[in-house]
C-alpha cells in the first residue's frame, strides 16, 4: 500500500481526469477565473526575479538599475565577464566539482539504496537511522573539524576536498530516495536474474539499474544542484581567485562598497543555465520520484 509502484501513477491520474470531467460542470466560471488568476499571480512571482536578472544582464552596465524592460540590448556584460574576470575558471571549477559529486553520489547512493532495499543484514537499521539523522547535522558543527581534516590531508583549495564534503550532504538523502525506488521494483526481477546465474552485483547492474532510471535521474539532479549551489563549505574551503567556485566568485561582485550588477547578472544567467538544463532533464521524473522515493521511503 505504501509502496504503490510508480507505474500506477499515470493510471490513477487518468482516472482522476475522468472524475474531473464530472466535477468540471460543478465549477462555476468565476471559480475558473479565480483559479487561473491565482496561478498567474503565483507564476509571475515565481518567474519574475529570474526574468528580471536575465533582462538586466542584456542592458548596458550603466543602465543596470533602470526599470525599463529593454534598453539598448547588448551582450557587453557577457563579453566583459568572460574577458575581464576569472569567471570561466570558476565555472570550470564548479563544473568539475558538481560533475564528480553527481557521478560518485549516484553510484554510491544507488548501491546503498539497493542493499538497504533488498537485503537484510546486520547494521541495516543503524545505517538507515544514521542516514536520516545525518540530514540534521548543521554545517556549523562539522565545518571546523572538516576544515581541519582537509587542511591535514592537504585537500583545502582542492576540488577533491569539496567533492568529498558534498557527498556527505547529498548521499544520505539520495540513498533514502533510491531505496524508495528500488522498493517499487518487484523482487521477482532479482530472482529471475539469479536463476539465470547473475551475481548480486550483476543483477543490480544489469537488471535493476536500468529499471530505476527515473530514480537515478532524480538522484543525479539532487546531487548536481546540491554541489552547484552550495555556499558555506565553498566559501570556507576555497580561497584565492583561481580556486573559487561560482558561489564564491559571485560574492566578489557584491561587497559592502557596492555591487557590480552588470557582470553579476550576466554571471547569474550563465550559472543558472546548466542547472536549468539538468532540471529540465530530471523534472519529468521529479513528481514520481519525490512521491515514490523521499516521501514514501
Amino acid at each position: 500500500m505504501t509502496t504503490a509502484p510508480a507505474t500506477t501513477v499515470p493510471a490513477t491520474s487518468a482516472r482522476h481526469s475522468a472524475r474531473k470531467v464530472r466535477l468540471r460542470g460543478e465549477r462555476s466560471p468565476i471559480a475558473s477565473v479565480g483559479l487561473h488568476l491565482t496561478l498567474i499571480v503565483a507564476s509571475v512571482i515565481a518567474v519574475f526575479p529570474v526574468l528580471w536578472v536575465l533582462l538586466t544582464s542584456l542592458k548596458p552596465a550603466a543602465y543596470a538599475t533602470t526599470t525599463d524592460f529593454f534598453k539598448e540590448t547588448t551582450f557587453e556584460n557577457y563579453t566583459n565577464l568572460i574577458q575581464n574576470t576569472k569567471f570561466l575558471t570558476w565555472f570550470g571549477n564548479s563544473l568539475l566539482i558538481a560533475g564528480l559529486t553527481t557521478l560518485l553520489g549516484v553510484i554510491i547512493s544507488a548501491s546503498t539504496g539497493y542493499a538497504v532495499s533488498r537485503f537484510r543484514f546486520p547494521g541495516k537499521r543503524g545505517l538507515m537511522w544514521t542516514l536520516l539523522i545525518t540530514q540534521m547535522f548543521p554545517v556549523a558543527v562539522l565545518i571546523v573539524p572538516i576544515y581541519n581534516i582537509m587542511a591535514g590531508m592537504g585537500l583545502l583549495n582542492q576540488p577533491a576536498g569539496l567533492v568529498i564534503t558534498y557527498l556527505t550532504i547529498s548521499v544520505p538523502f539520495c540513498a533514502w530516495m533510491m531505496k524508495g525506488f528500488f522498493d517499487t521494483i518487484p523482487r521477482e526481477i532479482d530472482e529471475s536474474g539469479q536463476v539465470d546465474g547473475l551475481t548480486p552485483f550483476g543483477t543490480f547492474w544489469r537488471l535493476i539499474l536500468p529499471l530505476a532510471k527515473p530514480g537515478l535521474a532524480v538522484t543525479a539532479f539532487y546531487s548536481f544542484i546540491t554541489a552547484w549551489g552550495e555556499v558555506a563549505y565553498a566559501s570556507a574551503f576555497m580561497v584565492g581567485e583561481d580556486n573559487l567556485t561560482l558561489a564564491g566568485g559571485l560574492q566578489l561582485f557584491v561587497n559592502q562598497y557596492g555591487a557590480q550588477w552588470g557582470p553579476m547578472t550576466a554571471a547569474s544567467v550563465l550559472i543558472a543555465i546548466p542547472a536549468a538544463l539538468v532540471f529540465l532533464f530530471a523534472q519529468r521524473h521529479l513528481v514520481t520520484g519525490m512521491s515514490a522515493g523521499a516521501v514514501k521511503g
Binding site: 547494521g123 544514521t130 571546523v144 573539524p145 561560482l246 543558472a272
Partner: protein, 338 residues
C-alpha cells in the same frame, strides 16, 4: 568460492521469513559465526561500504571532534598551526561544560534562538500552506497546467545563491526595482535589508519563494496517489468540497506532509545561504540565525572562536534531535505507523 557465492545468492533471493529462520538456526560458536555472517552478507556490506566509510570519516570523526572542541577554549590563537617554518603545537585546554553554561545563560544564544524559531515556524507554515494550495489547484483539470507547473517549479531549478542575489538586486534600497515601483506609486522607499523588521520580513519572503516548489511537487505527488474512488464515494454521499478536502485530502496526504514538514523544518532551521548571502545576519545581528552565527564565530570574527562555534553547533544538533523525537512521538500517539 563460486559455490559459496551462489549459496548466498539463493539466500538473498529468499523472502524475509526464510532468512529470519536461517538466522535463527544459525547460532554456532563465535569464530565460524563471524565467517558465516561474512559469507552471507558480504555483498550487502560491500555495497554499503562506501557510504559507511564516507560518513564515518567526514561526519563521524568531525562530529566527535566538534563535540570535543566545544568543551575546550580553542580559538585561532591556541590551536595547532604552522606559520612558515614555525610550527606551534595546540595549547588550548579542556574546560568542561563552561561553554554550554555560558551559551545557555547569556542573552546572545537565547535571543538568536528566539528569532531562529520565529523564522523556522513562519517559513515552514507559509511554505506549506502555499504549496498545499498550489498543489491542489494544479491537481485539477485546468488549461495550461503543465505550463503553470514549469513556471512554478522554476525557483527550484535556479541555484539558491543565484536567486538570493537576484532578490538582493530587487531589494536594493536606492536602486532596487521594488522601491522604484513603490516610488512610482508615490510611496517612500522601504529599507528592505537595512531595517531590522523589514529585513526579517525580507529574508522570510525569499526563503518561502525558494521553498514552495519543493512543497508543491511533493504534495502533488501525494495528491496523485490518493485513490479517486474515495472522492467518488464522498460525492455520492453529498460531501461538500471543503468536507472532501478536510476528510479525504488531508488524511490522504498525511504520510507525505509529515515527512516534508519534518524535512523542511530541519532544512529551514539550518538554512545558511539565504541569511548569509542576503543580509550576512545584519542589520546588526537582527536576522542572524543559529547556524550563521556559529559560522561567524569560526570564520568571520578575530580571533576565530572555534570552541564557541562548536558549542552552538552541538546545541543546534541537540535541538533538532529533540524536535525529531518529539515530532515522531506525537505522530505515533496519533496512530501513525512511522
Amino acid at each position: 568460492m563460486a559455490v559459496h557465492t551462489s549459496q548466498s545468492v539463493a539466500k538473498a533471493a529468499g523472502d524475509d521469513v526464510a532468512r529470519g529462520r536461517s538466522r535463527g538456526t544459525g547460532n554456532p560458536p563465535p569464530p565460524s559465526r563471524l565467517r558465516r555472517a561474512l559469507s552471507t552478507h558480504w555483498y550487502a556490506w560491500t555495497m554499503v561500504a562506501p557510504v559507511v566509510v564516507v560518513i564515518g570519516v567526514i561526519i563521524g570523526y568531525p562530529l566527535v571532534r566538534g563535540i570535543y572542541l566545544s568543551m575546550t577554549d580553542a580559538n585561532e590563537r591556541n590551536v595547532e598551526r604552522s606559520i612558515g617554518v614555525n610550527h606551534s603545537p595546540a595549547t588550548y585546554k579542556f574546560v568542561g561544560l563552561d561553554n554550554y553554561t555560558e551559551a545557555l545563560t547569556g542573552n546572545q544564544f537565547l535571543g538568536t534562538l528566539g528569532w531562529t524559531l520565529v523564522w523556522t515556524v513562519s517559513c515552514v507554515a507559509i511554505t506549506f500552506s502555499l504549496g498545499m494550495a498550489l498543489a491542489n489547484i494544479l491537481n485539477r483539470r485546468i488549461a495550461g497546467r503543465s505550463a503553470y507547473r514549469m513556471a512554478l517549479i522554476l525557483p527550484w531549478a535556479i541555484p539558491g545563491f543565484v536567486s538570493v542575489f537576484a532578490w538582493r538586486f530587487l531589494y536594493n534600497e536606492d536602486r532596487g526595482l521594488l522601491n522604484k515601483i513603490l516610488s512610482g506609486g508615490g510611496i517612500d522607499g522601504i529599507p528592505w535589508l537595512n531595517d531590522p523588521t523589514w529585513a526579517k520580513f525580507a529574508v522570510i519572503a525569499v526563503n518561502v519563494w525558494l521553498g514552495v516548489p519543493f512543497m508543491m511537487v511533493a504534495l502533488l505527488g501525494g495528491l496523485q496517489s490518493i485513490p479517486s474512488e474515495q472522492y467518488e464515494a464522498a460525492e455520492m454521499d453529498g460531501a461538500t468540497a471543503w468536507q472532501r478536502f478536510r476528510h479525504i485530502t488531508l488524511p490522504g496526504l498525511r504520510p507525505v506532509s509529515t515527512t516534508v514538514i519534518l524535512l523542511s523544518t530541519i532544512w529551514t532551521f539550518n538554512m545558511f545561504p539565504v541569511i548569509y548571502l542576503l543580509t550576512r545576519g545584519g542589520p546588526g545581528e537582527a536576522t542572524q540565525i543559529l547556524v550563521t552565527q556559529a559560522y561567524k564565530f569560526s570564520f568571520e570574527i578575530s580571533p576565530r572562536d572555534f570552541a564557541q562555534s562548536s558549542t552552538w553547533g552541538v546545541l543546534i544538533l541537540v535541538l533538532l534531535m529533540i524536535f525529531a523525537a518529539v515530532y515522531r512521538r506525537v505522530l505515533r500517539t496519533q496512530g501513525d505507523d512511522w
